[in-house]
Symmetry: C2
Subunit: 335 residues, 2 copies
């Protein structure tokens, strides 16, 4: 049985999901030979420390750690002070400067801790540097949850399709945009109506620009380009058009001709734009689903679809990354 | 660099694909630390032996090995006599008695060789026994290519979704049936016309019963049930209805109401039957594509689609299995 000491940094929607999932899956992890102990949870108010693992039930009822923190330590200070093998970073994302996640990841990797994250910003801003920092310190940086939520795209390419050369990936990487376009097409309603509906349902933010302008999708394109295609690109290298200019008339005309209009991210083309996708093609999924078509040299086109977001779903991708670190660390050292 | 001596048994369409793919991917495999040498190829006419690896170009032009065989050894005799680490078994399938593949696999596993196969029959007939034989001899039995062709279903469940509990899998596992149903729906033509078209295109066999009666799909349901759900079921445990009774009228009515009719295999329900699937749902793919919806406890529903068959595509799934054996063998021993 291998003991793994885990620190969680960030206690928003995803952080709650992580605490829940790690607690629920304790037995399954032990059956795999992993004794995972969540020894700390940190948010902007402080840190809960627990040598024997945090009491999930006790903290899941709290919106922040303000009432339960056993220490005032925050951020990098907490990361450096706490003895752990692995940090899960799930603070709010910022894809312009990557903070505070970037600083957190640098502190953890420099300190010889593996990092697992759903936080896009630091990877968009600084993938190459973080990757090198991980290598220099003999630890791993895993980020399946940053692209496509539960859709297991990165591990599918890196592990399952490992014998293939990947020629390109094209897909729907933002559930909010997909929901809006789906509703516009179904009901013939204009963009503003579909957006209001999505906001009422909690699918779109009050300020929806991050999603609808294509920013989120472009961030994912950058992460895929740098991690799976060995490119070295920045956000500004992506040619981005959002969905605000799509009209119900365009959608109706497309439908009549057998097409849907979807916001498609394309790697290595480095484009994000509304595109015609044949109805019935595997990536033309509806609602908040995400999808990705992976073009390979041997296996033809493999498509994967899944929920784009969700607290437990994102935590599930984080769990898979954790397991994968401890399952692959040893062989990678040998081959 | 790890040397791996590989024997190939079976030199039909898939066997040719295997020789081609192993030759094309020699460099990629070496980059991974695997020096794969195809030391023998055996078919019903004899065996090509080559200590330094068979000359792919020389044998790919031959339909059988009759003109190039360097030994008259066949079947189990060849498997036992040839010194190899891993056997690829791709002889024609028989899901009633599993032969000759079953005997081949037993000989290889008993002799301490890993087995990688696209041959459904032996697994449908005797999965439990083969699995035990592999365990007893400290080797692995891998069969991604038996279900869904290039669609990486088994490794996706076993590796990528490893933190999840899988509640069920439902999908389209036969490209021939999917092609026929797709054409009937598109053109409003009866079953017999669509079948003739599929036969003309080489998508359906002269005797199509194995596909259209649901036999092939049911075999895959048995393999998934036994390997991924820990069940112990036989072909006769599956409730099977094929597509020969589906009418263009039923397809048209379904379409009008927003549905497609697809031949769906369901595990653990152990059913194969034509079912209504909402148009636009991720498993409702067209043409010869296969698809599988994987219902999980944490990640929601993940769907994967890919080409159901093809020489190179099937060989690609075999290649992935080979890589996975050498990447996981060591860690599995530790955890």
């Amino acid at each position: 049985m291998r003991d793994v000491r885990v620190s969680l940094v960030g206690f928003g929607v995803v952080g709650h999901g992580v605490v829940d999932v790690l607690s629920r899956k304790k037995k399954l992890l032990r059956d795999m030979g992993l004794n995972l102990k969540l020894v700390s949870v940190t948010d902007h108010t402080g840190t809960v420390l627990a040598e024997d693992g945090v009491d999930a039930e006790k903290i899941l009822g709290e919106r922040t750690l303000a009432n339960v923190a056993s220490s005032g330590m925050k951020g990098k200070e907490a990361i450096s002070a706490i003895d752990s093998d692995l940090m899960i970073e799930v603070t709010p994302t910022n894809i312009v400067h990557g903070q505070p996640g970037l600083g957190h990841m640098e502190a953890a990797l420099s300190g010889g801790k593996h990092v697992v994250t759903s936080n896009k910003g630091p990877l968009v801003v600084s993938y190459g540097k973080l990757k090198k920092l991980a290598e220099d310190n003999g630890v791993m940086l895993k980020f399946e949850a940053t692209v496509g939520g539960t859709m297991p795209l990165i591990s599918l390419v890196e592990r399952t399709l490992v014998g293939n050369t990947i020629n390109g990936i094209r897909g729907i990487f933002n559930g909010t945009c997909n929901y809006i376009l789906t509703r516009m097409a179904e009901e013939g309603i204009p963009y503003t109506h579909a957006l209001s509906e999505a906001q009422d349902l909690g699918i779109a933010e009050a300020d929806p620009s991050y999603d609808v302008e294509g920013v989120d999708t472009a961030g994912k394109v950058v992460i895929l380009a740098n991690s799976l295609f060995g490119m070295d690109v920045k956000y500004s290298d992506v040619d981005v058009t959002g969905i605000t200019g799509v009209t119900p008339e365009a959608l109706a005309l497309a439908k009549k001709r057998g097409y849907a209009i979807k916001l498609i991210g394309d790697v290595p083309a480095l484009t994000v734009r509304p595109m015609l996708v044949p109805l019935g093609s595997p990536i033309a999924v509806s609602g908040t689903l995400n999808s990705a078509a992976i073009y390979t040299d041997l296996s033809g086109t493999i498509t994967v679809t899944g929920l784009g977001a969700g607290s437990i779903e994102t935590a599930s991708a984080i769990l898979t990354d954790i397991i994968s670190i401890y399952r692959t660390k040893l062989i990678d050292a040998i081959f």
